[in-house]
Amino acid sequence: MKKHFFVLLFFISMTITYSYAQINNEMSILSLLNEGESRYKELVEKSKTITRFEIDLVNQSSNKFTPVRLISGRTYSVMLLGEFNIINEIELKIYTYLNRSMVLKSDVKNSTRILETTFKPDKDDYYEFEIIAKRFSAGKKVGRYCLIIAN
């Protein structure tokens, strides 16, 4: 009887420890950072140089806009990752400014949480990157994304 009790106690404590670790992992930026690291190294292997690396939050109700300065004549590789188990579908729009209004230059959608594209700016300027998390996992409304830009 005593032996059974200790076995049961052991399993309960293991379950609590595992659940705690899961919650902690979900909240930490490190898993997405590690994924971003292996992705940027893939780009470096293709002789690309990383110009920008960003991780931020995006939520269901509002898209995230981030300004990025780009140089004309270069072809930029752009990679966007949604947080694993939280964001399931992601979209990226790139705008330029014309007479103070935003003009859409590129719109890339993917039915998964990862997308990869290239962009060739026609002038040296700030471009507005809009990150849209189109589908979240059940019960989630906020998640992180990782944006990697290389040339």
Binding site: M27, I29, V44, T49, F53, E54, I55, L57, P67
Partner: protein, 160 residues
Amino acid sequence: MRFKIIVSIILLMFLHSVNCKSQESFNRIFKSSKDKIAEIENLGYKVIHLDLDILNSSEKEETRISLNTGYNYVIAACGDQDRIKTVQIELYEEINNKRTLIQEGRDGKAPSGSSVINFKPEKDNSFLIMVFADKFSSGTVNTGRYYLIVASKPSPVEIK
């Protein structure tokens, strides 16, 4: 013809070395930011924003961020040790397109340190973080990479 080939090869080698140096610089700042994130998360904060970008002497890099009341925020920035000696942070509140300076972080010195701001907003609002390089290392061009980290305690409830 032979001259052109030699010049092209030299140019390609030069460009390759510039690219390699730039990538080494990115790798250094990435590692440095990862160490800082681990340090911040060990203090019970959760990182909500990370930026790895390039600073030059003439520009301040702007990051707009929404911060909420009830949370303690830490904002940390640091430059690549081989390029930037000190980095400064300024935190502005934006109300009706008017910017008000709230706090500054000016202590950061490479390689081990970073400029840090600890902040607890009194109301939910949009804030502007400006990062700029105070001093560049001598003998380098006036550009260098930096990281900006924003972390909150407790972390935003929705992430749990």
